[in-house]
């Protein structure tokens, strides 16, 4: 197990370098000059542009810029923003708390509601509840997230007045519930459907019959045997989904005015802040890598037949 983890961690290094290089090259290939864009439609000062570029190292050859970037990253320096001259690390750590809170909430909602609905539907396959859940999840999957976002905002905040339409204080969990619900809606629909199928299939498995035969109560048979065996595909999905919830919340963050990672990367892209985009993407890559490793380790917990030597 320990060796397996070390090997997986070592495998992260080439993935990390390859991914950052790709993003770096892509940002570089975009047309337009971010330093020049600082001047907007006003007078352009070539000498000043050259001086700013020299200071930020943007005048160096591309590969040297990348090398310097990598060297910095390993010392904890993710570069400096061109326009604001803020360290990219600052920008990330600023956006992170709101994003983590939102992700945690959305993830909890996904797990609790998604697995719960899937379990109920799977156990009562073909029944009224099952059909109702299938219908609701179909709506979540087919309606675009911004429609859901504006609809919730209008209904829960403007009409009912249960909460504020936008997040004023990203530390108040209660204000984050609405955006988290919107963010979680798509994932929970998938999770519910995955769980339902998996449960429905395993409910007829031999071991369930055995459990029943040896006199195990139904709740215990479901939680100990059925759930554990049915959750493997769901856990795989949830692992990948954490990354999506963190970085893919641009639309939701915009609607509810949450200043998180999603809006930070969007802003950075529109200003062509290469270092910021690469920094955030690098961070997300690390999150993905760590989460997939955790998911793989969780397999062993759920299914003792899976062993990592």
């Amino acid at each position: 197990m320990g060796r397996y983890v070390v090997r997986r961690l070592l495998q992260m290094i080439p993935v990390f370098i390859g991914a950052t290089l790709l993003v770096f090259l892509m940002m570089y290939a975009l047309p337009g000059d971010p330093v020049r864009a600082l001047y907007g439609e006003r007078s352009v000062d070539e000498a000043q542009i050259a001086a700013i570029k020299a200071e930020l190292g943007l005048d160096l050859p591309l590969m040297q810029q990348y090398w310097n970037y990598l060297l910095g990253v390993f010392q904890g320096d993710f570069g400096t923003q061109i326009a604001s001259r803020r360290p990219v690390m600052d920008v990330i750590t600023q956006a992170l708390p709101a994003t983590i809170r939102l992700t945690v909430l959305a993830f909890l909602i996904t797990v609790v509601l998604g697995v719960g609905m899937g379990l109920v539907a799977g156990l009562r396959r073909g029944g009224k509840i099952d059909r109702a859940i299938l219908f609701v999840t179909l709506i979540f999957i087919s309606v675009p997230v911004f429609v859901i976002g504006y609809a919730y905002q209008n209904f829960f905040a403007n009409t009912l007045g249960w909460t504020t339409p936008t997040v004023r204080d990203p530390e108040a969990w209660t204000q984050l519930i609405l955006p988290a619900l919107v963010l979680a809606s798509l994932s929970l629909a998938y999770v519910a459907r995955l769980t339902r199928t998996s449960i429905a299939e395993n409910a007829r498995a031999d071991y369930m019959r055995t459990a029943k035969a040896k006199g195990l109560s139904r709740p215990r048979a479901v939680t100990v045997h059925l759930m554990r065996n049915s959750l493997i595909p769901v856990v795989t999905f949830l692992g990948v989904d954490i990354g999506n919830l963190m970085a893919g919340a641009i639309v939701t963050e915009g609607i509810f005015n949450v200043q998180g990672i999603g809006s930070a990367v969007y802003r950075a892209l529109s200003f062509r802040e290469g270092a910021t985009v690469v920094g955030i993407v690098t961070f997300m890559i690390v999150v993905y890598l760590v989460v997939t490793l955790l998911v793989d380790l969780l397999y062993a917990v759920l299914d003792p037949r899976i062993r990592y030597a």
Binding site: L30, A37, T166
Partner: protein, 544 residues
């Protein structure tokens, strides 16, 4: 049993991670200040918040609240009025003696002296400090020594030789050449005084800027919000009529609009384009739509032989007459643009050089005459023309389509004008500044200061910094030179108006429309209006 423990451990780890997340970054403050605080929309300022480095409107809002310079532009008339300046005297329009008022203080308690200005200007001009607004100081003698024009050259001096401190409240300025309207440029934020602490501990200052304006910064959570409170010892006349302002960052102005309607926000500036048609119904008289110092134009690549010939003047004028400005401004922009009739802006007012009928017929829609003029001159070069602009912001795609349609209808040729959309602003500006245009392209100008000089010289003077079309006219240059060395302002403005007439005759660019600033406010506040730079006049806002 052992399996059970493992599951518990996994759950425990997840819970711990969640708790850790909760405890992160709990230092930023919660809601706004007291009852008399105005809650206003804001965007994350693009550049560091320092006067000579702020050239966009979001940072400009803060500068306008925490700084006062020698002059201030009257929010209503745009006239430059003395703020800190006791007097600015000159005999030759080149050497100025500036006396500043006594008793003004920065919000850290230190006094505003002549040094506060001279040090700030020297800092702003020096190329090593990477200040985007450096070029504002280009008129001051010695600028070339601290800000060499050649790329990569090092400055040969630390300070500009044209600035000299006489005593605590007096300093002199020598310009490189006569510039009669120069004192009127001093209302721009770049000319603000800076306290000693700015130079002593720059990083700390940037975390919480200290100025001498009607407000001071109470707290600043980057990318979230800034709370400003009234500065009690403010010496100016425009003291705050409210307790303070809470600026809240919005990434999407649609969201800000939603918050305004829900009563969670008091003031928004820049109403989202998609809501312009509803704003009147939603907000009634709380919707503000007034001229801003921005003009949108279409430029021609006069560096291209195809467009610079003598006959081409007629073609350019013809194209101007082929565009139906009225229809585009009302249909696409919901009357937040006004058809342009000169090369300046209505915010200057007629006393400042704005001339409502200058362009006359040539800027009025007349499809028949347009076709005649273009045909007389031998038609469009190559038979077609393209219209290029970035399309990532500002409904550019829509109006370009409409303008081309209008031209095509006038010429009776569906292929005469085609649109060439460029995805990003940065890319578009690259193409424009590298002189690689072959047809018409969008150009716009947002004034630095409300002076007719600023709408003409940087854009049309030979080799001027923003002369994108490569226009050059001896007559125009001569009139500008004479205006700058004129003895008094009226004479200067008169000469600038004559220079503008030259532009109508040569038509290097087509004036399209003047841009308006838009804003809206809640029922909780009143006396909201925009200044000539489209920034709300926060000091005047009253909270009921």
């Amino acid at each position: 049993m052992r399996k059970g423990t493992r599951l518990t451990a996994a759950v425990a780890t997840a819970t711990a991670a969640a708790l850790l997340a909760t405890s992160c970054g709990s230092d930023s403050g919660g809601g706004g200040g007291g009852d008399g605080t105005v809650r206003a929309s804001w965007g994350d300022p693009q550049n560091p918040l320092e006067p000579a480095n702020t050239n966009e409107v979001q940072g400009g809002k803060v500068m306008d609240m925490i700084f006062r310079g020698l002059k201030r532009y009257n929010p209503e008339t745009a006239a430059a009025e003395d703020a800190l300046a006791e007097s600015i005297e000159t005999d030759d329009q080149q050497n100025f003696t500036i006396t500043i008022k006594q008793g003004w203080t920065f919000s850290d308690g230190t006094e505003v002296t002549a040094d506060s200005f001279v040090d700030a200007w020297n800092y702003g001009a020096n190329i090593e400090n990477n200040q985007i607004n450096s070029y504002f100081f280009q008129f001051i003698d010695g600028y070339a020594d601290v800000h060499p024009e050649d790329e990569g050259a090092d400055p040969t001096a630390d300070t500009m030789s044209g600035l000299e401190v006489v005593d605590d409240h007096t300093f002199t300025v020598r310009l490189t050449e006569p510039f009669s309207l120069w004192p009127d440029t001093l209302g721009y934020a770049a000319y603000s005084p800076l306290p000693r602490s700015f130079f002593d501990d720059h990083d700390a200052w940037l975390e919480k800027p200290v100025g001498n304006g009607p407000y001071m910064i109470d707290s600043y959570a980057r990318s979230q919000s800034m709370t400003l409170v009234e500065y009690g010892d403010y010496s100016g006349d425009d003291t705050a009529q409210n307790d303070g302002v809470e600026l809240r960052v919005y990434t999407d102005n649609n969201t800000a609009y939603t918050d305004l309607q829900a009563g969670n926000l008091d003031v928004i500036d820049d109403i989202p384009a998609s809501q312009l048609n509803n704003a009147d119904a939603d907000l009634g008289d709380r919707y503000i739509n007034q001229p801003a110092g921005i003009i949108q134009t279409v430029s021609f690549p006069l560096y291209d032989d195809a467009w610079s010939g003598e006959d081409m003047v007629k073609v350019r004028q013809g194209l101007s007459m082929a565009i139906n400005r009225e229809e585009i401004t009302s249909k696409i922009f919901a009357d937040t643009r006004t058809p342009a009739t000169d090369f300046t802006s209505p915010v200057l007012e007629e006393s400042g050089g704005y001339e409502p009928d200058l362009c006359g017929d040539i800027c009025s829609y007349d499809p028949e005459r347009a076709k005649e003029m273009i045909d007389e001159a031998g038609g469009l070069p190559g038979g077609t023309v393209t219209l290029t602009s970035n399309v990532d912001t500002g409904s550019h795609r829509q109006w370009m389509d409409a303008a081309c349609n209008s031209i095509n209808n006038a010429l009776g040729d569906t292929g005469a004008c085609t649109v060439n959309p460029v995805p990003t602003f940065a890319d578009f500006r690259n193409q424009v500044t590298s002189d690689s245009m072959t047809g018409m392209f969008r150009s716009g100008w947002q004034m630095d200061y409300p002076l007719i000089q600023n709408f003409l010289q940087p854009l049309y003077y030979t080799d001027a910094s923003s002369n994108d079309s490569g226009y050059s006219s001896e007559e125009f240059d001569d009139l500008v030179n004479r205006a700058n060395s004129a003895d008094d302002e009226d004479e200067a403005i008169d000469l600038f108006k004559q220079a503008q007439q030259v532009l109508v005759d040569d038509m290097p660019v087509i004036p399209l429309w003047y841009q308006n600033g838009t804003a809206g406010h809640s029922e909780r506040v009143s006396d909201v209006r925009l200044n000539p730079f489209s920034v709300p006049v926060y000091t005047d806002i009253t909270v009921s």
